[in-house]
């Protein structure tokens, strides 16, 4: 659960700037692991965005004569897949799908979950019971099982993957947002605002949200790596992105049979998923430490 830490008095830190966000930025600038991971993320994002301009080949055109070329083959630096398609180009294009399928559900979860959680936390009573009990039901399923079950029922395709994963992440964000709201709601300054005549919208907008968003944002950022692993995992099972599109999990799936021919080319899409997910984990760890929020 999120333990809320209000912006600190940072005067004690020598050389530290005054405002909370500047302190956070100052701490991040002194955290090499987070900086390197952040740089890696920027690189991954750029290579996905720029794929059409930097990919050496068309990701979907192969040649039967150059199937399963090894890493370092001429004109195919990362080899080719089972249909003779250039691996480097497919990995670049694949990042687009994996990143979209992995990040969108967390963004949806963050938006919907924050609204539901703040409403439940602030209203309390029956509203809170109904919302939170409904969310508890989704906790009856481990995340992997819930995602696979929903997309198994809905069928393959990007929209269904996004729906299935959003359903996984909304309840998680709701719990964090609700518990943070309840904590902040009890603080004296909120009572003071209410006493001085602030309406519910003002309290939510100016007094609550700023202090609830921190923990929720940090929590959501920790979920991105899981979401990417799950999104690629669904495609790996044949439930997510459909062929012939390039997507890291799907590439891992179609290349699986080829490990007996060329062992290491099939490992590449997994390395891409691994690096991306690790970079997101390191950045969210750094963010959590810098913002002094415990989740």
């Amino acid at each position: 659960m999120a333990v809320l830490t209000l912006p600190h008095d940072t005067a004690a830190l020598p050389g530290a700037p005054a405002s909370y966000w500047r302190t956070v930025g100052w701490r991040l600038s002194r955290d090499p692991a987070t900086l390197i991971a952040g740089g890696l993320l920027v690189l991954i994002a750029l290579s996905a965005i720029l794929a059409p301009w930097i990919a050496p080949h068309d990701p979907n055109t192969g040649s039967i004569r150059s199937r399963l070329a090894p890493i370092g083959a001429p004109s195919h630096p990362l080899g080719t897949d089972e249909q003779g398609r250039d691996m480097l180009s497919r990995l670049l294009y694949g990042g687009r799908m994996t990143l979209v399928a992995g990040i969108t559900p967390v963004v949806v979860g963050f938006l919907v979950g924050t609204v539901l959680g703040v409403i439940a936390g602030y209203a309390g009573g029956v509203v809170s019971t109904v919302v939170m009990r409904t969310m508890d039901i989704f906790y009856a399923f481990p995340a992997v099982l819930l995602a696979i079950a929903i997309s198994g029922a809905l069928g393959p395709g990007l929209p269904n993957t996004l729906i299935a994963l959003s359903i996984v992440f909304i309840p998680r964000v709701v719990r964090v947002a609700e518990s943070a709201t309840v904590q902040v709601k009890g603080l004296e300054y909120v009572a003071a605002a209410r006493a001085s005549g602030a309406g519910v919208p003002q309290i939510l907008r100016y007094h609550l949200l700023a202090n609830v968003l921190g923990p929720v944002l940090v929590f959501s950022s920790t979920q991105v790596s899981l979401s990417i692993i799950l999104a690629a995992g669904l495609s790996f099972l044949g439930l997510g992105i459909t062929p012939p599109a390039a997507e890291w999990g799907l590439m891992l799936n179609t290349l699986r049979q080829s490990i007996y021919v060329n062992a290491w080319v099939p490992a590449l899409p997994g390395i891409a998923i691994f690096l991306t997910s690790m970079a997101f984990n390191l950045v969210s760890d750094g963010l959590r430490d810098a913002m002094e929020i415990r989740t």
């Binding site: 009856a140 099982l145 079950a149 790596s225 044949g238 007996y260 899409p269 998923i273």
Partner: protein, 312 residues
């Protein structure tokens, strides 16, 4: 305390009912007709209607749900559309195989994770602590299905030491154990990372408390201080172990798919592609029930160990 445990038990009922509604609704979310998938394309309208009637698909949804729930309550999960076998039998066999894998991977991950986490906490900032942080971050970041493929490439394809597929059910206990080895490692990676991390931070929290300083100040041997720390960190660690064990059972779908391990995940995967709705429902329902009951058991045991929890 008993009132608290009683309330937890009662609260599990709506959760289970809710889960059953989700499982039931899942099938009706599915595009297309569940019957169309199994009927030949040239089946007549009458034939389709007859099959629908036989499965009860012609009745309104709430009626279908209540009838289904009634049958489920008596242990009847229906028959597989693909094999005509009672679903409960398939699920039972698969659950046993999944449990074996969940237990073996949990033992591996819990043992290694607790040891690594505690050692890291007592050697904070030293080389071993760095190793433990690396294990923790890799464990939670690695796509375990990919790790499974890497294990197959190394130990089955390159070294030819261990089998890559199936459970070796006909080959006796040694073959079964040999088939278990790689999926156990692949499935143990995530909990290894999570537990290393949680144990380290729990132990560090305790180490920072004043009573530990007092214990050290009075000259207590390091080993005795260690015992105090472990005892105080135990409740928090215990909760995480319980949750992780549940995740192992429900989360093994991808690993079972990689290794064709005949567990619930493999059965679920098969059911999805054959659009075998009763099997799909049965597997998910059984796993969800198991997961809820396991969480409940963890809660209750925790309250028994540490009665302060009931007061919150």
């Amino acid at each position: 305390m008993w009132a608290y445990i009683g309330r937890r038990l009662v609260l599990a009922i709506p959760t289970l009912l809710g889960a059953s509604i989700i499982v039931f609704a899942m099938v009706h979310l599915a595009p297309g007709d569940p019957i169309a998938a199994v009927m030949p394309v040239d089946a007549s309208k009458e034939q389709i209607d007859a099959v629908k009637k036989a499965y009860g698909f012609d009745q309104p949804l709430p009626v279908q749900y209540l009838k289904w729930l009634g049958r489920v309550a008596t242990g009847d999960l229906g028959r597989s559309i693909a094999t005509r076998r009672p679903v409960i039998l398939d699920v039972r066999d698969a659950l046993l195989n999944s449990l074996v894998l969940a237990v073996s991977s949990s033992l591996l991950a819990f043992g290694a994770g607790i040891a690594l986490g505690l050692l890291a906490a007592f050697r904070q900032g030293r080389a071993l602590d760095k190793v433990s942080s690396a294990v923790a971050i890799v464990g939670v970041s690695v796509p375990h299905y990919w790790a499974g493929i890497i294990l197959i490439i190394v130990f089955s394809v390159q070294l030819n030491w261990l089998p890559a597929m199936g459970a070796g059910l006909d080959g006796g206990i040694v073959e079964y154990l040999r088939h278990m080895a790689l999926p156990t490692i692949a499935l143990g990676l995530i909990p290894l990372g999570v537990i290393t991390r949680v144990v380290r931070s729990a132990a560090l929290d305790i180490l920072a408390q004043e009573f530990v300083v007092a214990l050290r100040a009075k000259g207590l041997a390091r080993r005795r201080v260690f015992t105090h720390v472990v005892k105080n960190a135990a409740p928090q660690i215990f909760t995480v172990l319980g949750l992780q064990f549940g995740f192992q059972l429900g989360g093994s779908v991808l690993v079972e798919a990689v290794f064709s391990w005949p567990g619930t995940g493999y059965l679920l995967n098969l059911a999805i592609f054959q659009r075998d709705i009763p099997v799909l429902q049965g597997v998910i329902l059984v796993l969800a029930t198991f997961f809820v009951l396991l969480n409940l058991a963890v809660d209750v045991l925790q309250t028994l160990v540490d009665p302060r929890i009931a007061r919150h």
